[in-house]
């Protein structure tokens, strides 16, 4: 600092008023440029149903409890769906700052699921300029609901479905973030020949920060396959709701036409329709525990 002041002083004397540009150059040279990584593009590792670009940093365990209630159009007698509930439990952990894994269990179709989310690129400014963050998500779902027909030869592999997603997100400013999610779902066994084993979809999600602790989120998945040729009529899942952050918890409260909570279930498995009122109230609760303490905050 003393040296810098001396240089500045001498420069000022020698170059006088014309020194403005040279001075700025000197200052720029003497302070090395830093990479400013964008953080908190979304509040949680999920936008609503689907994954967001966010992940657990190294040593942090996320315990997730999610519910989807019955449909709003089921009437006052069923308390607009609240009498019925579906649960998903999840345990998710950051192995490194760029790799997160998780396991979960859904009540819906008695499904176990496991996933890994790899961080490929991180949005940054400064020394390294990167306009978007990119992650890759792979997941496997194991349906353990008993087969309808116990007499036929049932295969274990028939229970499996796989999901691959590329998450591309950008925090446009402090209040607004967007994400595009090209998705691929493979089901090993489907009901009829007309049902596709492979489903291609494009997800879009956004977050608008309303206050320091509350944000408004929306999420939509467009399914590219023709949806009328399935043995069941499926619709594109749309979810709208709020993220509320309270201390160590993130509450996500929203309305969605999907009962499923994992990718395999809501992409190509959403049978509810918004305009008919098949809307489920749902929430995710996320509680993060630090298992490995870092000396300084993890730079994730």
């Amino acid at each position: 600092m003393k040296r810098l002041s001396l240089i500045l002083f001498l420069s000022l004397i020698s170059l006088g008023i014309f020194a403005q540009d040279d001075l700025m150059n000197l200052v720029n040279q003497s302070t090395p440029k830093e990479i400013n990584y964008t953080t908190a593009t979304f509040k949680s590792t999920r936008i609503m149903n689907g994954h967001s670009i966010e992940r657990m940093p190294h040593g942090q365990l996320d315990v997730r409890i999610s519910h989807r209630f019955g449909t709003l159009n089921s009437g006052g007698y069923n308390f607009f769906g609240l009498d019925q509930s579906n649960i998903h439990l999840g345990l998710e952990y950051g192995i490194t700052n760029w790799l997160m894994v998780g396991v979960g269990r859904s009540e819906f179709e008695k499904t176990f699921d496991g996933f890994a989310k790899f961080s490929i690129l991180r949005q940054s400014t400064g020394a390294k300029n990167m306009p978007v963050s990119v992650s890759v998500l792979t997941s496997v779902a194991l349906k353990t609901l008993k087969f309808t027909d116990q007499t036929r030869t049932n295969y274990f592999t028939s229970r499996l479905a796989y999901v691959g997603q590329i998450l591309v997100a950008r925090k446009i400013n402090e209040a607004f973030s967007v994400q595009l999610t090209p998705s691929y779902v493979h089901r090993n066994l489907v009901a009829t020949e007309l049902d596709p084993n492979d489903i291609f979809a494009l997800g879009a999600g956004a977050r608008v920060k309303l206050t320091k602790r509350v944000s408004l989120n929306g999420e939509y998945y467009y399914i590219a396959n023709p949806k009328t040729y399935l043995s069941q009529q499926v619709y594109n899942p749309l979810s709208v709701g709020f993220d509320i952050e309270t201390g160590g918890h993130v509450f996500q409260l929203f309305f969605t036409n999907s009962l499923g909570m994992t990718e395999k279930q809501f992409i190509g498995g959403t049978t509810g329709q918004w305009k008919k009122g098949d809307i489920h109230f749902g929430f995710n609760i996320s509680r993060v525990f630090t298992l490995v303490k870092h000396q300084k905050p993890a730079n994730y």
Binding site: G70, T71, S74, Y77, N78, D83, Q84, S85, I95, T96, L99, F108, E109, A116, F118, T138, V140, L145, K146, T148, D149, T151, R152, Y155, T157, S158, L160, Y162, H186, N188, L189, V190, A191, T192, E193, D195, N197, S231, Q232, Q233, L259, G260, Q265, G269, T270, T271, G272
Partner: protein
Amino acid sequence: MKRILISLSAIAIFSLIFVSCYYDNEEALYPALNNTCDTTNVTYSGTIVPILNNSCLTCHSKASTGGSILLNTYDEVVASAPRLTGSIKQLSGYSPMPKNGGKLKSCSIAQWDIWVRKGMLND
């Protein structure tokens, strides 16, 4: 080095799982089963109860999950039968069933119709 090791092992684990990738559908995988739909010996205990067990009773066995429709006993099934017909055929005006689990097989729906037409006997 550690980073490379972790990524290699992660890729290995996931490629192992993806090896078991199949393009099956029930029609092609079980042709014999799909072509035979027993429509002559339709009984409550032998035909309807297995369908209910497999596709309905996960939810409709207790009031908290079943949305007040219970299908545990013969009497309960008979009481809900008109609505059930609309729901399993997914007609408009009825809540489509099974929820998010796909439509019942056309054979099961046909058998349900036969049982209703024969007078919903407790046989």
